[in-house]
Amino acid sequence: MADEITDNILNICNVNKSFPGVRALNNVSIRIRRGDIHGIVGENGAGKSTLMKILSGVYEKDSGTIEFDGETVENTTPVKSLRSGLSIIYQEFNLVNTMSVGENIFLGRFRKMKGMRGTHGEARKLLDSINCSVDTHAPVESLSVSEKQMVEIAKALSFQAKLIIMDEPSSSLTTEEIRHLSVIIKDLHEKGITIIYISHKLDEIFEYCDRVTIMRDGCVVDTKPIKELGRDEMIAKMVGRTIENEYPERPHCVGESLLEISNLNSRKLKNISFTLKRGEILGMVGLVGSGRTEIVRAIFGADKVKGLILQIDGKTVSIKKPADAKKAGIALVPEDRKQQGLILPFSVKSNISMAALKGLAKRIFLNRGSEVCMAKRQMESLAIKTPGINARVENLSGGNQQKCVLGRWLETDSRILILDEPTRGIDVGAKYEIYLLMKKIVENGGSIIMISSELQEVLSMSNRILTISDGRITGEFDPEDTSAEEIMKSALA
């Protein structure tokens, strides 16, 4: 009864979508009320992106009806969708890096704006309306992630968007930037713009959203007002089972000092020195751009640095390239798994074996049988969900892709595993599996350096935490004896 009276800006009814071999959306029905901030949560592979791409015109649904603002949506294209008032801000953004902010906002509409003067003038007004001081003439590539996001929002506003879809808006933002974003979201809300907010960060869902839809395996599990939903219930519905805790018990295997870093200097880093103990999970916290990734890349030999003295078990080791690091027993799982971690069009098998190839080669010939065994071994031990070891790794979900990269390094004799944002963009269920894996690794004598932006994660899993700010180590903390606020303060120092 109540639904009929409510004004729904978007009516998705029984939408289905399949791709070769997989049913991405199964009878999905969601009603989005006008003016709401409507959250959508679900594990990777739940169908959220597919649904959004159908809404914005990138994909075509197989069947079902979609009604936006009273009009039926059929055979739509991204341009038609934009013009009808539906904007989408992708996680990776849709901007032309080499062009200016103003040009990006009005891309393709310069004539309507009466040339560059009109373009930049309007762009300035739009940016001011969301309290963004970025110069409209600045090239987009010079902007920070947060600033690029502002440009995307201004672009949506320029289309008089009635509905804005935000896909994982805060995954690359610092705490400060997230605060700014929340102000803008509340502002857009007050202006009456409907927002669809997709995020893995359940805290944000609870903070912003009026209603939330939970998806799993291509189906809608439930749509409820946020007030009627508890965190545990949400997670249970996302995952299909109850999760007792989000994190396993903290491992306590810390032994003697294993790795000693001193005198690490580079353009960004200033005299970094620290140690890593055996069996330890060392958490590294810092804002984007603080130098945390630069530190681990330097240790791994991926970047050239000055002066670095690296000692393992008391012996000085010279690392000039990643191959040297590998030989010394150091492994790196990079932050950007798609561009730096995996070879997307290659098979799961090839991606897993690529760091351990030398071991597979008798003289110069590769042993195919051993390679298959290696891949199957990791597939089982890490529970990688894939149609088979020969499946293309680009078809796997984020969590399973991450497991492939991890599996690759588990096949080498690495004692020191560096994980840069290991659970970014990964659903709750897969995160837990990765935490368990980390625990197993240190219980078996390995050591882990973990860079993470999720304070809860760092506090729950690490044995010791270092904060990095502006190329310097600003603090060292015992996670059982500190708080998120203290760590944040130190990382902002």
Partner: protein, 321 residues
């Protein structure tokens, strides 16, 4: 709509994978209909003869493309090796001259690889022009060294005679040389650590480097291989035409690249195979032969070749979308 998508993808995939074979069959059938002479023994022998130098050079080019690069220098290398080899027959004897030529050509390739490394291995467009520029330098060297004169292979150059004309019926010596190179390179690509490293580096050089794959070594290796095979091809070519013109290598780089791409290997690197290149060469040779028999002018033939190349690249892009 669901069925359409599946069918379209499968269709393009199939066509892409078997494009070359499909074209070959089509071409043979058409020619057989219009020119029964196609099937004569002498013609077929001729086709196989034609396969010689280009196929050898294309094998080397394949590896460069597997790694995600392009080698525009082979024309220069071929010319340089040709004039140097022939000029050294007197002082070094035939075998000596051949070996010297091959060493020089291989070194020429290695040098390109080294320069690409110095400039920055991740800059693939720059690498393209580096190979182009150095190829021009090698061509110029060939002209300077020979004084612009086309040297003739003298009488009684037994080894060259054997390479150029020898053999047992259909199995010409140049064909055997090609097959030997083919087998070695196919094994290298599909069964060795080196071959796998090339494919991985071509697929994603950043991820490969971060996994400990020696991507820099791969770059130097593929250009060196290209130089080596271009040299071998040059020796075979000189043996066949019994002269060494300082511009003998002209058009080899574009034809070699065309052969590799028509075979179905993608320009972006990390995929393809030596066998695909062989099919590509067969198709190009067949196209030349058949179109000659059908009386198609050489200008028209170039147009057709270009169209087939574009078709191959388009199919590749479709498969990846």
């Amino acid at each position: 709509m669901k069925k359409e998508l599946n069918l379209k993808n499968a269709f393009f995939s199939f066509i892409k994978n078997y494009f070359v074979g499909f074209c070959i069959i089509l071409l043979v059938v058409i020619t057989m209909i219009y020119q029964p002479r196609f099937l004569s023994a002498s013609n077929l022998l001729n086709i196989i003869r034609q396969l010689g130098p280009l196929s050898i050079v294309s094998l080397g080019m394949s590896f460069v493309i597997f790694a995600g690069y392009l080698d525009l220098s082979v024309a220069g290398t071929i010319s340089l090796v040709a004039v140097v080899t022939v000029s050294l027959i007197e002082p070094l004897g035939q075998m000596g001259a051949i070996l010297a030529g091959i060493v020089i050509g291989t070194a020429a390739g290695a040098l390109i690889g080294a320069v690409v490394l110095v400039v920055g291995a991740n800059r693939k467009s720059e690498a393209l022009f580096i190979s182009y520029g150095m190829g021009m330098a090698y061509s110029a060297l060939a002209l300077m060294y020979s004084g612009g004169v086309t040297q003739k292979l003298g009488e009684n150059q037994k080894i060259f005679e054997v390479i150029g004309k020898g053999g047992w019926g259909i199995l010409s010596v140049s064909l055997v040389i090609f097959i030997v190179c083919l087998i070695i390179l196919q094994i290298l690509q599909s069964m060795t650590y080196i071959g796998r490293s090339v494919m991985l580096a071509g697929g994603n050089p950043v991820a490969s480097r971060l996994s400990g794959i020696p991507v820099n070594a791969v770059v130097v290796l593929v250009y060196t291989l290209s130089g080596l095979l271009a040299s071998i091809g040059s020796v075979v070519l000189v043996s066949r035409v019994t002269t060494a013109s300082p511009v003998i290598g002209k058009t080899y780089e574009t034809n070699a690249i065309t052969a590799v791409l028509i075979g179905g290997t993608s320009l972006k690197g990390g995929n393809g195979s030596v066998m695909r290149t062989v099919l590509g060469v067969v198709l190009i040779s067949l196209m030349s032969n058949c179109m000659n028999l059908l009386g198609i002018s050489s200008y028209m033939q170039s147009v057709v070749r270009g169209l087939v190349l574009i078709l191959a690249i388009w199919l590749d892009s479709k498969r990846n979308s």
